[in-house]
């Protein structure tokens, strides 16, 4: 019997599955998460995987959260330990009073267990082997059998799981019935042999509402479909590959001409990132909406072209799904570490527009918007996701689209416009004073409006020139354009603390759900904080005023060097002392506990009366 009393909690706990890559567990685990959602209880799952090689350990964690906290929590209440390789580490990570679920076919020495946890053994291999002969079937159905056992242990409604299986194998009756059979094998065994339910339980609720459950990469790819992207060139790299793969599958469903069956898109797997961004730039130069998806090392390779896009003013979209760097770093771990690399990518004076979506819904919106912005501003737009949003399912508001919406193709001069009497066309003329010139597409007019695009300096009429004044004129216009961008990109969102406070916190992107939860934890500790979620670079003027309105502001980010903080200091001329870095960068998603502890400890120190004052 455990010394600790068993954890008892309804709709609020963390289950972690420890599996071996390639064992087919992913779909069973996802089924588990979805089943809980169908009980009306929010979940927040996370894939934890090293490099994607068969046989290596993977984990899948499901946070069951009636309160709807979508950030990672930290800690494990129940470990489904299916991987002997990681057994010791897995057992060690269980919270005192938590549960260990394991395959008890072979007896384990007691030294392999902990005294302060509850051990639940199910002879999974024995049950499987007595039912199935085919080795692949044995492997796959073992996963469904443990799912069935969990159903009984956590008091889940088997009908809900059956219904989900039904949806998954619609039209494939044989697969459907065999999966349902396996589910009941596990459930029945548990009901007959174990004390069910345990302390952790799932009870029906109504906290999910009309929210959807989606991966950020798939949402961004769908945003590209809705945003009118027709050309995608990419090179595989974790965690961004699924953007291009999802774009391909969305396009297959949504983008074929109904009469001819032909594709209204072109997707090319480039030979590398240089080619991918080259294809994007060539397509955009020629008037198509084009994008690539990559991650840190890909950005490094693309930087020469990124500079060309900036200087020659060619629209383009890069979706950067960030992972832990530098170099190959931790390729399957999350970070927000390419902020500086993207904001100032390439040689010479360059600045680029960054968008920071917080969840799949915003990834969809910002992805669609990025094509409007790229064409309106004739420049590179970076959609900055990270592995935590990109490769995990998140609960988010349903995706929305306004059918009246037209694409903003930006300042493009047509043949008719070129023929207007008195019209002067110069590719780099600032006609409207907003720093954005007019362009023409190749092939527009037999005698007017053609120009030569180059990365070398040129005058307002696109004529090669190395004169200092001409060069400086162009560079200043580019700054004007960047200032124009400030009011076009998504604005920061602000929320005030319940009580007036001198302190603020700035955060962005995938940190949002953890931050929402952390605010509550901090309030419980007596700390009030006003919040600002930054959604784009260049920073809106409200960022500087938010900082000015507080004694100091915490900047929470998932990298070592406080890159967003650096960018704010650099771009807004802010005294760095006013911005306190809160940094999390071990590759795991930031948690509410971490934020609340880091900020809370800092705040507690502020409340301590300085020693000298007390003495004097």
């Amino acid at each position: 019997m455990p010394v600790q009393s068993p954890i008892s909690s309804v709709n609020d706990f963390v289950v972690r599955f420890a599996n071996v890559n390639g064992s087919g567990s992913a779909s069973a685990n996802e089924l588990f998460a979805r089943s809980i959602l169908r009980h009306g209880v929010p979940v927040s799952p996370r894939n934890i995987f090293p490099s994607n090689i068969q046989g290596l350990p993977t984990w899948y964690e499901v946070r069951v959260t009636e309160a709807g906290h979508l950030g990672a929590r930290g800690g494990v209440d129940m470990m489904v330990a299916m991987n002997p390789q990681t057994w010791d580490k897995d057992v060690a990570s269980i919270e005192p009073g938590g549960y260990l679920f394991y395959d008890s076919t072979k007896p384990m020495p007691t030294s392999k267990f902990r005294a302060d946890i509850n051990v639940i053994g199910v002879p999974l291999t024995a049950i499987t082997n007595s039912t199935y002969t085919d080795p692949r079937q044995r492997q796959l159905f073992k996963n469904i059998i443990y799912l069935g056992a969990l159903c009984a242990l956590l008091d889940m409604d088997p009908k809900v799981v059956e219904q989900l299986i039904g949806e998954q194998y619609k039209g494939k009756e044989k697969l459907l019935s065999s999966n349902v059979h396996a589910l009941h094998l596990g459930r029945d065994w548990a009901l007959q042999n174990l004390k069910c339910p345990i302390g952790l339980q799932v009870k029906k609720s109504d906290k999910v509402g009309d929210r959807i459950f989606m991966e950020g990469n798939s949402a961004a790819a769908l945003g590209a479909v809705y945003g009118g992207a027709t050309v995608c060139a990419w090179y595989p790299i974790t965690p961004s590959s699924s953007v291009a793969e999802a774009f391909t599958s969305h396009c297959k469903k949504l983008r074929h001409d109904p009469e001819t069956g032909k594709a209204k898109y072109a997707i090319v797997q480039g030979e590398d990132e240089l080619a991918s961004i080259g294809i994007v730039i060539g397509a955009s130069w020629n008037g198509a909406r084009a994008f690539t998806a990559t991650s840190g090392p890909g950005i490094s390779l693309m930087t020469e072209f990124i500079g060309l896009s900036y200087f020659a003013e060619i629209p383009a979209v890069i979706m950067n799904i960030q992972r832990a760097g530098p170099s190959t770093g931790m390729p399957t771990r999350t970070q927000q570490c390419d902020i500086i690399a993207c904001a100032y990518a390439s040689h010479g004076d360059t600045k680029h527009i960054l968008l920071f979506p917080e969840d799949p819904a915003e990834a969809f919106e910002f992805a669609a918007q990025s094509f409007d912005l790229a064409e309106r501003l004739q420049t590179m737009i970076f959609l900055m996701l990270d592995l935590d949003i990109g490769m995990n399912h998140r609960l988010c508001r349903p995706l929305k689209w306004d059918d009246a919406r037209q694409y903003d193709r930006g300042k493009v001069m047509t043949a008719e416009m070129l023929d207007e009497p008195g019209r002067d066309f110069g590719r780099y003329l600032d006609v409207d004073g907003d720093g954005i010139p007019y362009r023409t597409y190749p092939g527009t007019h037999p005698t007017k409006g053609s120009f030569f695009t180059r990365g070398t300096s040129r005058d307002r009429y696109a004529r090669y020139s190395e004169e200092g004044a001409v060069y400086a004129d162009n560079m200043q216009r580019l700054v004007r354009k960047f200032e124009t961008a400030q009011d076009m990109v998504p604005r920061p969102l602000q929320a005030n603390a319940a009580k007036p406070t001198k302190y603020g916190v700035i955060y962005f992107g995938s940190t949002a759900p953890a931050m929402d939860e952390a605010i509550g934890l901090l309030e419980a500790r007596g700390h009030q904080l006003d919040r600002m979620r930054i959604r784009a670079f260049p920073f809106h003027s409200s960022v500087a005023s938010f900082i000015a309105d507080h004694d100091f502001v915490y900047v929470v980010e998932q990298n070592r060097d406080g890159q967003l903080r650096q960018l704010i200091v650099n771009e807004n001329g802010i005294d760095p002392v006013r911005l306190v870095p809160i940094l999390h960068y071990d590759g795991t998603p930031i948690t509410a506990r971490f934020i609340a502890n880091a900020i809370g400890d800092h705040q507690d120190h502020l409340k301590v009366t300085p020693l000298r004052k007390a003495v004097s």
Partner: protein, 351 residues
């Protein structure tokens, strides 16, 4: 002034093509290359070929990398859009441009440094993807713009201007283009306009990846004794396999050369390529034979020129991707956006 525009004035009596355009309409800015540079002769041949084909200049997109050769698109087709991109990356930019609008003519101009060194990969991949383009390498065996370093096409044993011997093996872009599946492969010499002009014209008419390697001597850094890319060397070692005439639909169908020495190849768009064979055994439709022929002659130090291979049944990247006939860059929200009803269905499938 760092650029020179050509005066607009021209003689009213200049000959005109079917569109009513004169040569002048196919010219660009005045070249800033060294007087006598082979690249300028290629420019002249491109102008001639486009004039002869009566191409609307603005329907051409001319794309290049970086180098003296890559500067040349500024010197022809002044009414078309040009793109001087980054070193070695012309092929990807051209591929993207082509995907965006399949209706324009794509002319890629590159150097041997640009295509055989830094851009070797992009060269190879654009060819293997069958991008519909005319890819011209202005091959001088040397880096012109950075002043005379050996390029990867410099022959082993050839000498630099300073007398240094090249000990590395050369890359033969023609052999590689053949191997990678280019459906039109030719080699020519910048000093041989009679051969080069119809080759360029035929390549423009060809659907798919058309590659022309043009030996183009650099008079500043690679026109000395000991170079295998000098004017003198190429004149002495040039071995043409055929001479080409491009017959558009409007030209008479019969060709007035002795039978047995003319091979007619019909292309997708109705143009016929009449190949006057100089080497009676040479078959320009046999990829394998072309490769062997090339290697044998290269071993003898000969520069084989002419149309080395053409596939009359060629396809292009758009065929492979099965894209719509309408250029992708003209599709609008109504064509591309699945709309809110479809999104509702997607939402429902994610619950």
């Amino acid at each position: 002034m760092t650029y020179i525009a050509k005066p607009k004035f021209h003689h009213p009596g200049l000959p005109k093509n079917e569109l009513g355009y004169t040569h002048r309409d196919y010219e660009g800015k005045i070249s800033t290359l060294c007087a006598g540079c082979g690249h300028d002769s290629i420019t002249a041949s491109i102008i001639e070929a486009c004039y002869e084909l009566s191409i609307e200049p603005h329907r051409v997109a001319k794309i290049s990398g970086i180098g003296c050769s890559s500067k040349t698109p500024d010197y022809f087709l002044g009414n078309s859009h040009g793109f001087n991109s980054v070193h070695g990356r012309m092929p990807s930019v051209l591929t993207g441009a082509n995907l965006a609008n399949r209706d324009l003519i794509y002319l890629g101009v590159s150097g041997d440094g640009d295509s055989a060194s830094i851009g070797f990969g992009q060269f190879a991949h654009s060819i293997r993807r069958a991008v519909n383009m005319t890819y011209i390498v202005e091959n001088n065996g040397v880096y012109g713009l950075t002043k005379g370093q050996f390029s990867a096409t410099a022959d082993r044993g050839s000498k630099s201007k300073k007398g240094v011997m090249n000990t590395d093996n050369a890359i033969d872009l023609v052999a590689i283009a053949l191997q990678l599946g280019a459906s039109f492969v030719a080699r020519s010499f910048s000093g041989d306009k009679t051969q080069l002009v119809p080759l360029i014209a035929a390549a423009i008419r060809h659907k798919g990846a058309a590659f022309i390697d043009v030996v183009s001597p650099c008079i500043a850094f690679n026109n000395h004794a000991g170079s295998t890319k000098s004017f003198d060397y190429v004149r002495e070692h040039n071995d043409a396999v055929n001479r080409l005439d491009v017959l558009t639909g409007r030209d008479p169908i019969t060709v007035d050369y002795a039978p047995g020495t003319v091979q007619v190849v019909e292309q997708h768009d109705g143009t016929r390529l009449a190949l006057r064979k100089i080497d009676a055994d040479y078959d320009a439709n046999d990829r394998l034979a072309a490769m062997t022929f090339l290697q044998k002659h290269a071993a003898k130090g000969q520069v084989v020129t002419g149309l080395l291979y053409v596939d009359p049944d060629s396809e292009d990247l758009h065929t492979h991707l099965d894209t719509v006939e309408t250029p992708l860059n003209t599709l609008e929200a109504k064509d591309l956006c699945p709309g809110s009803a479809a999104l509702e269905k997607i939402n429902a499938s994610l619950r």
